[in-house]
């Protein structure tokens, strides 16, 4: 059995938890990985590039892909579709890569259902709601209305922390990054169920 099978690392947590900073901090140390890019029907914003922030498609195309079961998971949020296409994930896994997801609790639940045997999930949280409020206000990229919506969403998401394998409280970026890196290394040790079954079969039937 190969020691370098692909595996999945799901990161969830409120906008403002520091997921992007954490990923940036560890990405050079986690080995070969693929960062999953979602597909969406929401309009491209100024400064965004197709294939970087998202794959931008129209609703007809998205619905066709739903019908053809091309999504690992998808959801309708505020009138826009968001989804994860199966094909690049499968390819990355076959290449033995660690597939990283930055996805919400619904998305984690869907991915764990489909790929549970090779999935490790981490919820990244700011230490407190007031700290999150500060961070969102200080980065001043969002309107007050958007901040309020993000805080409301954060309160709902944090209720489901126990669905995750790990909770990282991002109080110190250094400590949080070290923990996430350790988890990422160990995530790669998860073996797909078909490899496990293959191993069990061979264990009894070959070389004896």
């Amino acid at each position: 059995m190969s020691q370098t099978n692909g595996a999945v690392l799901v990161l969830s947590g409120p906008s403002g938890a520091g997921k992007s900073s954490l990923i940036k901090k560890i990405e050079h140390d986690i080995g070969s990985y693929y960062f999953s890019i979602s597909t969406t029907t929401r309009p491209m914003r100024k400064g965004e590039t197709d294939g970087v922030e998202y794959y931008f498609v129209d609703e007809a195309e998205f619905k066709k892909d739903i019908e053809e079961d091309m999504f690992l998971e998808y959801a309708l949020v505020h009138g826009n579709y968001y989804g994860t296409s199966l094909k690049p994930v499968k390819q990355a896994l076959e290449e033995g890569k660690l597939v990283l997801f930055d996805i919400d609790v619904q998305g984690n639940s869907a991915i764990t259902n489909r790929l549970g045997d090779i999935t490790t999930s981490v919820f990244i949280s700011p230490p407190t709601l007031s700290e999150l409020k500060n961070r969102l206000t200080n980065r001043s990229t969002d309107t007050q209305e958007v901040i309020e919506r993000r805080l409301k969403m954060a309160r709902l998401e944090i209720q489901r922390v126990s669905e995750y394998d790990f909770l990282i409280i991002n109080d110190s970026l250094e400590t949080a990054a070290k923990q996430l890196l350790q988890i990422a290394h160990v995530a790669r040790l998860k073996k797909p169920l078909d490899q496990i079954n293959d191993f069990v079969y061979k264990w009894e039937n070959l070389e004896n």
Copy 2:
């Protein structure tokens, strides 16, 4: 929330898989730990010491402890009782230690049921049945009859590998020890459910 809560690391695998050698190799690097010692009614053998290999008790005492719910798990094997007393495990967890178990698949199942939120389980396997046969024969501590029984047990246990979080194939001791050490570090990041709930509660209600 403390970063140094206790956690559980279960190691299973056939006699001859190399669990003891692996533990010896990593024990100085895993930080503060407690190696769980089982209690048994089987007679003490020459060279064994009470409180080292096992806590040796008589059947009356064992049955009294069963009645008083003092065991995390117990089983009757070949006419002898074996069990894990709850008390030292609870104490070690409260001291923030990593509690190591060398236990069979039944034991793992019982521990996971009771302490699943803080338990990481690892099945350690020799690469093949013939390799296991060689190892057991070469160490020449067991009679042919005992070896046959161990091999039969190994074939049954390996069928349940998929119940474990990780499978380590102990082909190279160096590689296997490195993997186990990584898993042991990450096992400590698992937080008990009551701490998670406490965090969620405080997150919303304090400092805001």
